[in-house]
Symmetry: C2
Subunit: 303 residues, 2 copies
DNA sequence: GGTATTCATGAATAATACTCATAACAGGAA
DNA sequence: TTCCTGTTATGAGTATTATTCATGAATACC
């Protein structure tokens, strides 16, 4: 019944003093405002303004409406601006799902750059799913999924943001530390430190040891990267990491990285999103930020 | 641009789950809602909802709009109710001007009854004017004026709320205390205690002494009624009050009231208001309360 | 008094909101 | 699959509402 249009009229009258000027300010005729308010007065059965000489003066009821206008209109305006920002992809909440531990490390770097570039976009980082990352994406629980595994789906689009090799890290005091690459036989004699995920998701098994029909003598799930590196450093086992992450780690730990076999394991990191969301600016921006960072990392390790 | 209509639609969708039910709740067709929102989406260039299977789900932008709706709609609704109350004269601010000291005493009684009857109406009591009471009325500084003097004006309506006589009060030890009425000659020999107003507004001069071409030997302006009564009681002078006020006073002070001359001075108390305001319920109610109280007072003094 | 300014009003027009009919789509059941 | 049901989307036509235009009435100012 009371519409924001009416509130604008009351406010404009208050600001401009006369109906005629208020009408100009609103790019309408004086008549329009007069009609509008007389409509409202009829509906509410209350006088909102009265003629005072040749000007108008708000009645008590009019003052009440004015106060409402001053309360409501800024909220509406703010909302309109926010929605415009959403429309242009300048604003939103980007809910990111992560499916692998190294991805998580990589993400933190991307996010810190992204947050600077897009101050109006908030980020939710979700790494505990009820279901799989893919389902999270399709159920709208997350907007993008960072994953090393591409699972084709006709509603989902994938962007490749990074290519990298996996390496094995060993203590620099380890007998293997003098070698350039590690064979399946050599690796199978070591204790393998790995992230706590099902074995079938461990690339080192899928893409290296399984082919040789070997298994590590021992496997140990470790929660944090830091702990994994320390354990490796002190010879409690070996671990498998992306080369760029290994590079970082060697700055702080006495470790040696070894190529995996003669051909190495090549991986790609993907960002998955729902196809319609490829249009959203801040998602495009996020993907780009990811690619840029990956390139920089490649350069820094001399590739 | 965003109108409350739109907010209602978004809210109804949220409450009812489906567009069809939301449409029923708003007594509109599903089509209308669909059109309305697609209009808004075009204007704001942002999707507000998306089909999810056969239902709709709000997008992030839609959620923003919903939050705005939940913030704004209650305010609007509250305002509509308040304005309705104003329209029915159940609510408002009654600004009362008072032009004479006895009026003030009388008013306090009326107001206390009125406030009980009309809990939604607030009262402002204004007894210091920049200008005259009449001007205050015409300038909208006050809504009603309580006055014993009727000043005809074509924009102002007068209601008579009380008729009364003026009496002279003297100490019961005064030599005049045995008389029934006081003559101009007798009064002229006394010190007259009066309220601090210009002499031309003193009825006892205008309507009694002036006719006999006499003046009191001494005149003393006194601010408060209580002080005036005490001074009278202790023989420092005599004072002139409405009979009903004199009646009250004699309960607490050793005083005698004397009729003024053989014919007495008859006064009326008016409530003046702007003519259009005669329609306002709470003003009608106020006048009625005043009349009722005056009648009760007349009865109590046995008339 | 005449003039300029302002608001009110009625009629005509323009814009918009709404409905109706129907299409398109999804989910469940046979 | 195919049909059935319940949902939203869409185009066209109708109804309603908003706006303008032209004019009248009131008022303030010179």
């Amino acid at each position: 019944m009371i519409e924001n249009k009416h509130l604008k009229i009351i406010q404009a009258l208050h600001i401009n003093g006369t109906l005629t000027e208020a009408a100009n300010a609103l790019f309408l005729t004086q008549s329009a405002l007069s009609h509008q308010i007389s409509y409202l007065e009829k509906k509410l059965e209350v006088k909102l303004w009265e003629r005072e000489g040749r000007n108008l003066r708000l009645t008590q009821a009019g003052e009440v409406l004015l106060k409402t206008a001053q309360q409501v209109l800024p909220v509406i305006e703010q909302t309109e601006q926010t929605l415009k920002a959403y429309g242009e992809g300048r604003q939103g909440i980007l809910r990111i799902g992560v499916e692998c531990h190294p991805c998580y490390e990589w993400l933190l770097g991307v996010i810190s750059i992204f947050l600077e570039k897009m101050p109006d976009v908030d980020i939710d980082l979700i790494n505990k799913f009820q279901f799989s990352g893919m389902e999270g994406l399709l159920n709208q629980h997350i907007d993008i999924l960072v994953t090393p595994d591409m699972e084709i789906h006709d509603k989902v689009h994938y962007d490749t943001v990074a290519e990298y090799e996996l390496v094995v890290l060993v203590s620099d005091k380890h007998t293997l530390a003098k070698k350039e690459f590690i064979t399946a036989q050599e690796l199978a004699k070591e204790t393998l430190l790995h992230f706590p995920v099902p074995n079938e998701r461990l690339d080192i098994l899928n893409h290296f040891l399984n082919a040789a029909k070997l298994k590590p003598v021992q496997m140990k799930g470790v929660e944090s990267i830091e702990l994994m590196l320390q354990m490796t450093e002190f010879g409690r086992g070996v671990c498998v990491l992306p080369e760029w992450l290994a590079e970082e780690s060697m700055k702080k730990h006495a470790l040696k990285s070894l190529q995996i076999g003669t051909k190495s394991i090549h991986k790609e990191l993907y960002i998955a999103m729902r196809k319609p969301d490829t249009e959203i600016k801040y998602i495009q921006e996020f993907v780009q930020t990811g690619k840029d960072l990956a390139n920089k990392k490649l350069e820094s390790i001399g590739k």
